[in-house]
């Protein structure tokens, strides 16, 4: 899909994500919004996964390591036809529902359960190794949060991916620089992050993750990199799309009030209008 259409579409999916959160009584809205562009670009332009190929051994693999951004993932999975948006919205977080606040691999299109941080990268190393050793051409993707990088298992996975030269693996760090207790650099600093990944043997792409065009180019570039895994440091804005929640740690997990909802909805509509006009 071309970039301008993707940009317009991203605002619809933000609105759907918001509606899912409202119906479910709360969600990880800040990270949903910073992650949305990466998810959308991946599913629209790079992954070969469709509802018809969920069991195809040659399908690309995607693991949402920052599992709490599930509401944005629901919106994308519904958009791609894996799940029904109305059903998800009505039952998210409700008693007995399969639509929980983290990935549930009993649902079509979801490969692995997550929720606890630091699990996705090692799992993806295994998936990428399986592909290499079997001579398959599929690629493996994961998205981690930046707060998540404090988990030691992330670096165990990073070490193994470098050691085995897994160029079929691409990790995204949703670098929104905020976590529950404050900024990532106050809580537990990650800089110099690019150098850290490079030292573990990774190809590092540092991009503006609020830009769909930049993300799209980065995913394309990752595919052309041989001999080493790629990490895309996706510099984003937590709560992206409405000044009401942008860069506010308090919006990590939140249920907007009715007034807040209306304001955010209006901001998303403005965003879509601007995207349509190519701004």
């Amino acid at each position: 899909m071309d970039i301008r259409d993707l940009e317009a579409l991203s605002w619809d999916l933000r609105q759907q994500t918001l509606d899912i959160i409202m119906a479910g009584g709360g969600g990880h809205i800040g990270g949903d919004m910073s992650l949305m562009n990466a998810l959308l670009v991946l599913y629209e332009n790079h992954l070969n996964i469709t509802p018809a190929t969920v069991n195809d051994p040659e399908r690309d693999r995607f693991v949402l390591s920052k599992g709490h951004s599930m509401e944005a993932y629901y919106a994308v999975l519904c958009h791609k036809g894996f799940l029904d948006l109305r059903d998800v919205t009505e039952r998210f977080s409700q008693f007995g529902s399969p639509y929980i606040g983290h990935p549930n691999n009993k649902l079509p299109g979801i490969e692995m359960n997550s929720g606890s941080l630091g699990h996705g990268l090692p799992v993806c190393v295994g998936m990428a190794l399986a592909g290499k050793r079997s001579g398959k051409r599929y690629r493996v993707y994961t998205v981690m949060g930046d707060g998540e990088l404090a988990e030691g298992s992330v670096w165990e996975g990073a070490m193994a991916a470098g050691h085995y030269g897994l160029d079929n693996l691409c990790a995204v760090v949703d670098r929104n620089r905020l976590q529950i207790s404050g900024t990532t650099e106050e809580v537990m600093g990650h800089e110099p992050l690019a150098e850290r990944f490079a030292a573990f043997g990774w190809n590092v792409l540092d991009v503006n993750g609020d830009s769909i065009a930049e993300l799209d180019r980065a995913f394309a570039k990752a595919k052309e990199t041989g001999g080493k895994p790629t990490v895309i440091l996706s510099n984003t804005t937590k709560g992206y799309g409405s000044p009401l929640m942008e860069n506010k740690a308090g919006w990590h997990h939140h249920l907007p009030s009715r007034e807040e909802y209306e304001q955010i909805k209006a901001d998303f509509a403005k965003g879509k209008e601007a995207a349509r006009n190519g701004k």
Partner: protein, 314 residues
């Protein structure tokens, strides 16, 4: 001791035999291929072997990723680390995600003897059993270990298997090793009314059997169950054993909390109340020594178990 082959070597042989015809079998180690007796596998099937280094979380996460892509992932690492350091990966990536990962805890229990509590795994049964969708097996000898590994190669669900470091005396033989998945093996006294039912797992099956033979010589009838399948526990066999005995004695190389004894006591208490004595390791760092010295100290020998039974039925 007649047998010189440890159970871990029996595992390697079973995996190598299977790998000859199955390219989907993958073995993973955390700098543990030597202690797991898996160096021959790594040598013979380098493309089906993954060295992860000393990183147990990564070890189990990578295994789950391989399994999610259709591989049969067998992970071998010391039980003390595998059941603690990578516990959350066992929970989320294996049990919860339902991936075909078989976790093999080697050098389990007090196998590492004088190396101290860091290297003992007296909590692995309790920890692994508490995970929904995780099975727990402690085979008693090399023949049963082989049959168990063959059965695990044929299914697609996660499991935890614990073996010790040293060779143990055979209970069975190549030709006579009755094995049905998830069914305990009656070694003595099936269908008989006895004074005591001895229910044991892993390396404790041998001393339990010795105790029963010793008691028989003294005119005390005892039955023996090899409960290699700790989870799912063979409840029918437990109930049958308890119903035909005055007392039940469990024997395990594990903490007295949350292991075989706790699980047997639950079933007996619910279905056929009898006095249950749980012989196990104490809730404390175990005394320094070799496995046989440690077992003797805590009464986990044929003689010690027989003594306990005689006290109970006095």
């Amino acid at each position: 001791m007649a047998n010189k082959i440890p159970n871990r070597q029996a595992i390697c042989e079973a995996l190598m035999a299977h790998a000859e015809t199955d390219p989907e079998l993958f073995v993973l180690c955390s700098d543990s291929r030597g202690s797991a007796s898996l160096a021959p596998f790594a040598e013979r099937f380098p493309e089906q072997f993954v060295e992860v280094g000393i990183a147990e979380q990564n070890l189990v996460g990578i295994a789950a990723g391989l399994a999610a892509c259709g591989k049969k992932a067998f992970v071998a690492s010391p039980a003390c680390f595998l059941s603690t350091r990578s516990y959350e990966q066992a929970k989320v990536d294996c049990a919860y995600s339902n991936t075909n990962v078989k976790l093999i805890g080697i050098s389990g229990g007090v196998s590492y003897g004088a190396l101290g509590m860091s290297h003992h795994s007296a909590q692995d049964i309790a920890a692994m059993s508490a995970l929904p969708n995780m099975r727990v097996y402690l085979p008693s000898d090399r023949h049963q270990t082989k049959r168990l590994v063959e059965a695990l190669l044929a299914d697609e669900k996660p499991a935890y298997l614990r073996v010790g470091r040293n060779p143990v005396e055979d209970i069975y033989s190549e030709a006579a090793c009755p094995f049905e998945m998830d069914r305990a093996v009656w070694l003595k006294g099936k269908g008989q009314q006895v004074k005591a039912a001895l229910i044991a797992c892993g390396e404790m099956v041998r001393p339990a059997l010795e105790a029963a033979n010793r008691l028989e010589g003294e005119g005390v009838a005892a039955s023996v169950l090899d409960m290699y399948c700790v989870k799912p526990l063979d409840r029918e066999a437990v109930i049958e054993a308890a119903k035909s005995a005055d007392v039940v004695v469990t024997v395990e190389e594990h903490s007295v909390y949350g292991g075989l004894g706790s699980m047997v006591a639950q079933v007996v208490g619910e279905h056929c109340p009898r006095r249950v004595k749980c012989l196990a390791l104490p809730d404390a760092p175990v005394i320094t020594g070799t496995s046989p010295e440690v077992f003797a100290h805590y009464g986990l020998t044929g003689e010690g178990i027989a003594c306990t039974v005689k006290e109970l039925i006095k």
